[in-house]
Symmetry: C2
């Protein structure tokens, strides 16, 4: 299984490839892709090797083929849909973000404690009371959750999600979740991102990978 950094880069590569395809470009060399995705040639070749895809010395990598090969690794029907928990400002922004792009991503359900927010769909996504969390997650067979609730209630919400069958969480709450090892949590910590950028912007530190 490819390491975590490789998975992140593959995601970036695919986005770049989509752009190239839109411009009608059919092939790329590793150093070109590297340039566009802020990586380097050796890394690109190694990543592509890890997913069992190959190119040719003459033409490089076929844009469409490579994108499909990445899709085979990253995409899966089970994780294309997620439940969004917490329809505050950030929650709404995320629903919009993923609705706007006829994309691979779908918010299959939205949960919120505020009864006045639920009932009518938001941006086409069905909304439900937080009380129905277990029921909704189970019936829709959801495995991924996006947490945009206040920090105080994040842990409880996460536990209920996991109990209901969720195995992956993207957590926007500024709170470290304590969950079983088998659950994969990606913490999107906006305040930490700010502090980190502030720190490294002060002292110019070179080795940078513009990562997530």
């Amino acid at each position: 299984m490819p390491p975590e950094p490789t998975i992140e880069r593959l995601s970036r590569y695919r986005r770049v490839l989509a752009g190239l395809a839109a411009e009608g470009q059919t092939h790329v060399f590793s150093h070109e892709l590297a340039e566009l995705a802020h990586s380097n040639g050796a890394q690109v070749r190694r990543d592509i090797m890890l997913i069992g895809h190959t190119g040719s010395p003459a033409k490089g990598y076929a844009v469409g083929d490579l994108a499909r090969a990445i899709g085979k690794v990253l995409d899966d029907p089970a994780t294309a849909r997620a439940v969004l928990v917490g329809l505050g400002n950030l929650g709404r922004a995320l629903v919009d973000y993923f609705s706007n792009r006829g994309s691979r991503f779908a918010i299959a359900a939205i949960l919120d404690t505020d009864e006045s927010k639920v009932g009518a769909p938001y941006r086409g996504c069905p909304t439900f009371s937080m009380e129905r969390l277990e029921e909704v997650v189970a019936e829709k067979k959801l495995r991924l959750a996006i947490l945009t609730v206040p920090a105080e209630v994040a842990q409880e919400a996460a536990e209920r999600l996991v109990a209901a069958g969720v195995t992956g969480i993207v957590n926007f709450a500024p709170m470290t979740l304590r969950l079983p090892e088998r659950v994969f949590v990606e913490q999107v910590d906006i305040a930490a991102a700010w502090e980190k950028v502030g720190y490294f912007a002060r002292r110019r530190r070179s080795p940078r990978r513009q990562g997530t």
Copy 2:
């Protein structure tokens, strides 16, 4: 200079420490802090050692002292203020996020191309036309920017920010920025986060650091 992962963890530690302080706890042992911040004892001790702080075998680390020591490393007046570029849904959510908490973070200016959005302050933050980017950044001496514009215009906006004096960017646009090496860019890639969680949630992979 501490490595990047350490800076991220210090940010998490401080948040945990704030919680402990609020509960009136005065000391923590490394393994306790590790538990709460999803790390491990050796890592915590190493991180704390790297910033030149020490504890005692008898009582562990003094909560307040450690928080202040972390603050000395992370905090700096120059990076406590940032300009937010792009007042869409996500931009608004971030302004709210940072305004709500009488926090260390301040949005000193908001820029947008939509003239109807600018002029009147939003959540107390002054708003300006995108045309005045250079002027605003220079006059307010801003060094950090938060980019929440569409991908198509992210590169241009970033270049103008850098030319105006910005040295650190938190980029929410799904787009790899190509900027001079001295500029520190933190990519917050929401789609990539989803794909990554989807991937690792499928196969239960163990070694996880719940990082950013």
